[in-house]
């Protein structure tokens, strides 16, 4: 598996660290209650198919990436900088 880092280009999977579903970027506000935080920290959609996930290019440029990957085939359809995704989320809210 190779990931096309927007800064470094196509790199081996071993250069990256996996963090989990990119839903982690949507951090709830403090004080939103136990259920919201339980949902954010523990519960997952866990689809067999396309999933947006966070990968850290720790042996490369150090960027956090949002990688859209099919969990059945490991086919990667999109890679974006997490900073851009987070900024877009902020612009929406």
């Amino acid at each position: 598996m190779r990931i096309d880092c927007p800064i470094c280009g196509l790199r081996d999977r071993r250069e990256f660290y996996y963090q989990g579903a990119a839903s982690m970027l949507a951090r709830p506000a403090p004080g939103t209650g136990v259920d919201v935080w339980d949902d954010y920290l523990h519960l997952r959609d866990n689809p067999a198919g396309a999933l947006e996930e966070l990968w850290h290019h720790d042996a490369g440029c150090g960027s956090w990436l949002v990688v859209t990957r099919d969990t059945r085939t490991h086919e990667i359809s999109k890679v974006a900088l997490a900073a851009d995704t987070k900024q877009a989320m902020g612009a929406l809210s």
């Binding site: 989990g20 339980d38 997952r44």
Partner: protein, 417 residues
């Protein structure tokens, strides 16, 4: 049909023509008292104990593929109870006791082999942790022996003791642990359940769960709707998708774990050995193949196959521990899809839907749990009460902050396991 030495002898002398199928192939009925979704080790053992211990025989096991075609057929066959951790330790102790009587109970040769499980330690701290673990195991009535480096050297002279990075300081030996024939465990439970009237229905995929006013009414399948008062979901690897049919989100990510087997060799490894620093474990099958595995792939996956980087990592760990295996040829590798929970421990619980039960989150350790899991889940489904051995396996434990750290002790975050 019962198995006996005399029967095996007679069949051997008469061309083995008298053996009959081990279970029926029934059509699904319109309604059952209980349905188990998932015909793997845990589902089949649940059905068996529901019928045997609780007299619930109007039940069906629904399997989308074939019986035992999932993770019970894709593991490294290790059986052990060497946790020493509150909540998990009691459960695996209970499960090992069931393993010890399993073949007599099922009248089925599961090739249960208590050859001993040896966990190696490679630092003073790890040795202290093993001493503590061994004490807890002994205190609850299980067996544990702390071995010095010298004892391990006498027992397993072929290990690389002088390794500069991970020298071997000793080990924790659990003699009652060992291996069992994985397929035979599924077949034995299937046969036992079938003999007690359980319908084992293969090629029957559940496509929906019928719920009315918060009460489960039955399931939709590729072979029509089936009504039931109780439904148990035991579909490791696919738990999230089946739970989603009931509107639930689970604290689970699905990951792949690889295992490997070499060509058949002469007997060389007598035990199950685990390498504490590399998360590598190895045993030798009765057929002669070295069976070994290591870490999971560390990213969500439903591809029932592994990846090369982890394969390389496992081979490196094996070569570090026992350089002698370097010339063995790897015949094949396989991957199983596992439910990874945030704390690495399983879930056996009721759900918010009345009559709907869930048994999931076995992470990388589901095989040794097969008897205990079935027993505890059957107890819960039949009586509505949690089995004492599995009382800690609650669905809400993350929300209330009562997570059970597993033996990897890597923290309450999904991707750390």
């Amino acid at each position: 049909m019962r198995f006996s030495g005399l029967r095996v002898l007679r069949e051997g002398l008469t061309g083995n023509k008298g053996w009959t199928p081990h279970w029926r192939d029934p059509e699904p009925k319109a309604e059952y008292d209980a349905i188990i979704i998932g015909g793997g080790g845990h589902g089949l053992s649940t059905a068996y104990y529901l019928a045997k211990k609780h007299g619930l025989t109007n039940i069906a096991v629904l399997e989308k593929g074939y019986l035992g075609g999932g993770n019970v057929g894709r593991n490294t066959t290790i059986v052990r109870a060497n946790y020493g951790m509150e909540g998990n330790s009691q459960f695996y102790s209970h499960s090992l006791k069931l393993w010890e009587g399993l073949e007599q109970d099922l009248n089925y040769n599961a090739m249960m082999s208590q050859r001993g499980v040896l966990m190696l330690c490679h630092s003073d701290g790890q040795r202290d942790a093993f001493a503590r673990r061994g004490n807890m195991m002994a205190a609850q009535g299980d067996d544990a022996e702390l071995l010095s480096a010298q004892s391990v050297r006498q027992m397993l002279p072929y290990l690389d003791f002088e390794n500069t990075r991970f020298p071997i300081y000793g080990g924790l030996l659990h003699r009652r642990g060992g291996t069992a024939r994985h397929d035979a465990v599924a077949w034995g439970y299937a046969r036992g359940a079938d003999q007690r009237g359980v319908d084992l229905i293969q090629q029957c995929e559940v496509t929906g769960i019928d719920i009315e006013n918060g009460v489960v009414k039955g399931v939709q399948t590729t072979r029509g709707a089936i009504r039931a008062k109780k439904v148990g979901v035991v579909v490791a690897g696919r738990s999230s998708q089946v739970a989603a049919m009931a509107g639930m989100r689970l604290p689970i990510e699905s990951h792949v774990l690889q295992a490997f087997v070499t060509e058949g060799l002469k007997p060389v490894i007598d035990h199950v050995i685990s390498f504490g620093m590399g998360h590598f474990y190895i045993s030798q099958s009765d057929k002669g193949g070295l069976v070994f595995g290591g870490d999971l792939d560390f990213y969500s996956s439903y591809a029932a196959r592994g990846n090369m980087p982890m394969m390389e990592h496992v081979m490196e760990a094996g070569m570090t521990l026992m350089p002698m295996i370097g010339k063995a040829k790897v015949l094949r590798s396989w991957g199983g899809i596992m439910d990874m929970t945030p704390d690495g421990s399983p879930i056996i619980d009721k759900t918010e839907t009345k009559g709907l039960f869930i048994n999931c989150g076995w992470c990388y350790g589901g095989f040794k749990a097969v008897p205990g899991s079935g027993d505890a889940f059957a107890h819960l489904m039949a009586t509505g009460e949690h089995h004492t051995a599995a009382a800690a396996y609650r669905l809400d434990r993350f929300r209330i902050g009562a997570g059970l750290m597993d033996e990897e002790a890597t923290g309450s975050q999904h991707n750390l396991h």
